[in-house]
Symmetry: C2
Subunit: 560 residues, 2 copies
């Protein structure tokens, strides 16, 4: 692709989109410039063909990265096919200085030019959404539709949102100011002051297996838009979507007259642990990470030369007190547990249900009834294999499968997981979620409740009362962290207590969702993903704190 990427032309194409994004992060209303439906994106088969053309060879970069000391890669699709793509393995002693050398011109371009280039990168990615959907599907195991939406327009939304926050933050201080201080009868003091947003250094983005683009774009675009170079270190099992992203960024940067080395890719050799090496390099001044708590904590403790933004593990809770739409609640919960086989950081894990039952619009339901009805709702939702495949996707890796297989040992199984055959991919590991009964009165419940069991396992937890549920919710957020909290209640007092505990422990709360919005989904420009205030994450996507420390302001004062 080639186009006029002069500053004027870029601004003409993208300034309105940026302005709308700036407006929407203020109103938090619904908006997206990137359509969700595949029909908006031209020929699906072309996208598939472009994806397939990438398989089984060296990933084609238009311009070679500096410091490439060999090629590596070994992605295996959760759907069973071998991707066979090879990516550059970096020599950091060559690559990082080359990236640093590219920064001054990018810094001097200023916040608006950087934002426009970022929006052009996103536009190029958006135009290839079909191709990205296949790449995300075959690395994350997401079903195609989800890979298309969450890996495509929704991820692009999160990238654009980060650009908007970054731009807004940089232009809050003017480029220059005249400062005139009265001195009574004497002449006033006068200074001319110039302010420049300067980057920190190199931003390292450490990608995850499940949402390589959705979780990777905010950090990537926030760092790039604030003048930093960005080195992307994908999860070894989910390289392709980020390699495509890096290539798109490099193309646009080069065409716009900047060094493509402002965005580079770094891929591990098997077992190498490259992220650990890169994260503590002095050139790396920002780290964005999504993944395990253990490595997130390691980064926070060791990458001390950098600003470290982490999204780690958490235990998400739903408190079920009462509802005036029992069927809607069950359907909504069943969907939340099933979507992408529960492999979202936002999927509920612990459903806290009073042992004495709950109130509904048609009278009380016992704990046993609620559990049985929920199990039935999941069963019904996933009863048809085609629909089950479209919702569940595949298990992302053998660890998830192992956890699922261990679930029956954790309590009494209310709903067993079953294998679903995939019509196109016989080796895909597709499983429905397991629902396991726990009771806080029993000694073995605590260990299961108070640890993340990532994957398609949910616990229907019998608790003494709604009060006890809310106390347990608070302790769970405080000790384990939570990306999401759900609550169902018709009682204003219970609602007040749920809000209070979420404000006290800093977690995002969804109340009484019974329709087509699910606790595990957050919309860019409107919802905050994570709070940054509990152990599940030290940052939220996206807010000013996520961008404000990625750059600094240098002032030059001269006599007026």
């Amino acid at each position: 692709m080639s186009a006029d990427l002069s500053p004027l032309s870029l601004a003409e194409r993208h300034r309105d989109t940026l302005d709308q994004a700036l407006e929407t992060i203020r109103t938090r209303a619904y908006w997206s410039p990137y359509p969700e439906h595949p029909k908006a994106y031209g020929d699906a088969e072309e996208g598939r063909a472009a994806f397939e053309a990438l398989l089984g060879g060296r990933f084609p970069f238009a311009s070679e990265q500096p410091g490439t000391d060999g090629w590596t890669g070994g992605e295996q699709s959760p759907y069973g096919i071998e991707l066979g793509v090879q990516y550059p393995h970096p020599d950091p002693d060559v690559l990082l200085p080359a990236m640093r050398a590219a920064m001054p011109a990018w810094r001097d371009a200023g916040p608006e030019a950087r934002a426009m280039v970022c929006l052009e990168i996103l536009a190029r990615i958006n135009a290839r959404t079909h191709e990205f959907a296949h790449a995300v599907m075959h690395t994350s195991g997401q079903a195609f539709t989800m890979a298309f939406q969450a890996g495509g327009p929704h991820a692009q939304d999160r990238g654009l949102e980060a650009v908007a926050y970054a731009y807004a933050e940089q232009v809050r201080t003017p480029g220059s100011a005249e400062w005139v201080k009265p001195q009574g009868k004497r002449d006033p003091l006068g200074l001319h002051k110039a302010f420049t947003a300067v980057p920190r250094g190199i931003g390292l983005v450490i990608g995850c297996n499940t949402f390589p683009t959705w979780n990777g774009y905010p950090g990537l675009f926030a760092s790039l838009a604030t003048g930093n170079a960005v080195l992307v270190k994908p999860h070894p099992r989910a390289v392709l979507p980020l390699a495509m992203t890096v290539a798109a960024a490099r193309d646009v940067l080069a065409e716009a007259g900047f060094s493509p080395d402002l965005v580079c890719l770094a891929v591990d050799r098997p077992g190498e642990g490259l992220a650990k090496t890169l994260a503590v390099r002095p050139e790396v001044r920002i780290v964005d990470y999504t993944g395990s708590t253990a490595f997130g904590d390691w980064l926070e403790a060791n990458a001390r030369q950098a600003q470290v933004f982490t999204e780690k593990a958490g235990v998400n809770t739903v408190v079920v007190d009462s509802t005036d739409d029992y069927r809607g609640m069950l359907g909504n919960l069943a969907f939340s547990l099933s979507l992408y086989s529960g492999q979202m950081c936002t999927t509920p894990q612990n459903l806290l249900i009073p042992r004495g039952g709950i109130g509904t619009e048609s009278g009380p339901r016992t704990y046993d009834e609620v559990v049985a009805d929920l199990a039935a709702a999941v069963d019904k939702l996933l009863g048809d294999d085609a629909r089950a495949n479209a919702l569940l996707g595949a298990l992302v890796n053998p660890d998830v499968k192992a956890r699922l297989e261990a679930a029956p040992g954790m309590g009494e199984v209310a709903l067993a997981s079953r294998a679903v055959a995939h019509p196109d991919f016989p080796d895909a590991v597709v499983r429905t979620p397991a629902l396991v009964r726990l009771d806080t009165a029993k000694p073995d419940a605590e260990a299961a409740l108070m640890a993340e069991c990532f994957g398609p396992v949910a616990f229907a937890v019998a608790v003494d009362s709604t009060d006890a549920a809310i106390r347990l919710l608070g302790r769970t957020i405080r000790e384990q962290g939570a990306m999401t909290v759900g609550g169902y209640t018709t009682s204003p007092e219970v609602e007040r207590q749920l809000v209070e505990v979420c404000q006290e422990e800093c977690a995002q709360l969804s109340l009484n969702l019974t329709g087509g919005v699910y606790v595990n989904q957050t919309a860019a420009f409107s919802d905050f993903h994570g709070s940054g205030g509990n152990p599940a994450a030290n940052a939220a996507l996206c807010d000013a704190a996520f961008v404000a420390s990625r750059f600094r302001t240098v002032e030059v004062r001269r006599p007026a």
Copy 2:
């Protein structure tokens, strides 16, 4: 003092001031609501009497702090008098939970009410500026006028600036939003979303000896305005101004219907190291610190449960290449070196002068001439003892005196320090600055150059060339950090290089100051104090990054 502190009354009194502050942090023009001249503050003798009434007894809090397990204190004025004030020593196991318990009501009050209460606190402090001036003078050793201005209105400016940034940041997200997502022919999805700024926890402010209020207020007010409780742990030698501040805050909070325990004081027993204990308490989620690099680094490494904002040591450089106002330059530098005996974190230390001399409007000057002329300028500035006392103040503590006395051993003395007698305080240790010649060609220069020598010692450093000076400047910022950089040049190319190195290494640059503005002074609302991007400080006073992570936003979503 008692007044109507209803929300309406507070808004009437302070909303315009907040709006003007919000406007000024955008324009960076000159503004302050707090006059600088003592005449604006009523009876000077009343202020002195109020200060003297505090001496020699227990500090009078209107309401007792919880968890006080005894009283402690032992401040000795740098002017030689014993303050003899006793302050509460805390039992953290009682005090911290009491502070936490005060937070929900403060959180629920919302950003505007909190800002108004903070402005009322600042107004009360402002009205007592005379009294504060004496307290700052007799703890920091600043001369009265400086203690009055820097410890009074300028500190209040920095507090107000932090409130403005905090307010702006919290209200960027609306209190609520209606989110409506179209679904083609189906009904749109609709959610009502409520957003609440929630505090982190307790903010710990660890004060410094030299600028207890100026350096303490930004963190104190930023944390308080974002809904946190604030525990102030002053430097053991500079407690009184912060105790007065805490008392004023407690009074206003109580009168406005909040718990006074939102702001508390914690004072060390001698040698106790209370800051270390408090900084790692789980309740403490924010730390603001000004002081040594060693303890700042310790806090950053160990107070991992908290957001840590530090201002540490640095080595400030002035590059002298050329000037078209030689006399103005000498006068400006002489003043900068003399003000508060060089005991500002912004005072220049290394004056880099090409060995071959510099250009001036009346022809070249050799290195020797520049050094001799600068020495003469300092001598002339401080020739009169009354004027010297008014500029210098007293040495803040014996460490500074010891460093000054060791200075002659570091190189050839170009200007010896002399003792100045103080007419009112015979025991005050008042000293003029020493100017010591170093030469980068000699092996002993490196160690002296590359370490902070805090106090009235400056080095006139002979360097190979302006190019060499700029390279040394870059290395000094990178390795040692810098709060300020100065430069004198008539060459556009040298100016460009100075700007480039300061942008690259992230330091604040003042060029060609020859009049009544000095490199060591930064004005609130307009200048950034520190950059947060080099080793001297991890934060700047004040920007969005200084406030944005002090609170988090909790969202509650409900079906519309």
